[in-house]
């Protein structure tokens, strides 16, 4: 996990080292902004959980693995709770 988090930083340093001086600040600014806007792992903690695409699929896996199911139903909505657009 730590290595995965370091890769964008290493990439950013490599990119900044290679560009022309005049654009160096622009590249750095964009990459710094990307780092500040991209969520940290703690903000994405819900994706640690076992999401299933349908209740039927959840039921089949629940029976096999002897696990309970947590179902969220949203009415009056065309969204997708899994993505967060809901």
């Amino acid at each position: 996990m730590k290595m995965k988090m370091l890769v964008p930083v290493i990439l950013a340093v490599a990119i900044i080292a290679g560009v022309r001086g005049a654009e160096k600040s622009d590249v750095k600014n964009i990459l710094d902004k990307y780092e500040s806007v991209r969520p940290q792992a703690a903000d994405l903690a819900l994706y640690q959980l076992d999401w299933m695409p349908t209740l039927q699929a959840a039921k089949e896996r629940a029976a096999k693995e002897q696990r309970p199911i947590f179902l969220v139903v949203v009415t009056n909505s065309f969204g997708d709770l899994f993505s967060g657009h809901c």
Binding site: V37, D43, P68, I69, F82
Partner: protein, 275 residues
């Protein structure tokens, strides 16, 4: 909350139709048989706990409520999940101090070596007064075929790219929690011109900046829209004009039109996938 839910298989379903005909039949059965669906004080979010045999053991309203008072149509999520865990005879949840593997984070697998499989977008509101929507990201992926990347191919000279070329990315630039009718209609018009400027090489890769203003519209001036700016760094191999990676941001405002216009600031991180 994550620790409370860790033993569960999580699933969610949405219905935009009054007769619920767009719900998975198994979900429709659970919902229509529930007392929640008949509660006159209900809102539109409902939570159910089922045992490993698929039998409902607990249900509660999904909108969050204060722990000190049970407001009608709302629930204290943590308290209700604890009740469900007790009914299921699950052991006490133990909080852990690190984030585990994000195994379900939406992602794209490499299709070909020449170009990324697409991009991943993290969309959040930029509103300190709304800590929920500002902290919790929406995560969307936009798959791309090799031909889709060609407009962004490396050029030794500056070139202009119509924003519409990136519509599979830009179509996701809206916040969580908007009305169903608004969400149902995606952006139809993708305006703006981006400049792609080469910026040099480090001997391993070549680089370019992609920047410019965006104006996205769903239709007339009475419908929601987006205005903002995109800025991204693209990398390319020395021996190929194909895009190797993208890292960038979009900052702007979703003009949320209901009765009047609410300006909802968004900030979006964009990254090509896989790494």
């Amino acid at each position: 909350m994550v620790e409370l839910l860790r033993p569960f298989l999580i699933t969610a379903a949405h219905s935009g139709r009054p007769d619920l005909s767009d719900l998975e039949p198994a979900v429709r059965e659970v919902f229509t048989k529930s007392d929640l669906s008949k509660d006159p004080k209900r809102f539109n979010v409902f939570m159910f706990v089922l045992d490993s045999q698929g039998k409902v053991v607990h249900e509660f309203h999904g909108l969050p409520g204060d722990s000190r008072s049970a407001a009608p149509g709302r629930s204290n999520h943590q308290a209700e999940i604890r009740k469900a865990r007790a009914l299921l005879k699950l052991p006490e949840a133990i909080p852990i101090d690190h984030v585990g593997s994000l195994k379900r984070l939406p992602d794209l697998k490499a299709q070909r070596l020449e170009a990324p499989a697409g991009v991943r977008l993290f969309i959040r509101q930029d509103d300190p007064s709304n800590s929920v929507f500002s902290k919790l990201p929406v995560v969307e992926i936009a798959a791309m075929k090799p031909d889709d990347w060609k407009p962004l191919a490396f050029s030794p000279n500056n070139k202009e790219i119509a924003a519409e070329v990136l519509k599979s990315w830009l179509v996701w630039l809206y916040p969580a929690g908007i009305r169903a009718a608004d969400e149902k209609k995606p952006f139809q018009k993708f305006g703006g011109t981006l400049k792609l400027e080469p910026t040099g090489s480090d001997g391993k890769f070549r680089y370019a900046l992609l920047r410019g203003k965006l104006t996205l519209a769903k239709g007339s001036d009475t419908e929601s829209a987006f205005e903002g700016e995109l800025a991204a760094v693209l990398t390319y191999r020395l021996d190929s004009p194909d895009v190797q990676s993208v890292r960038g941001v979009v900052e702007g405002t979703y003009l949320y039109r209901t009765r009047g216009t609410n300006k909802e600031k968004l900030r979006v991180a964009i990254e090509s996938r896989p790494e």
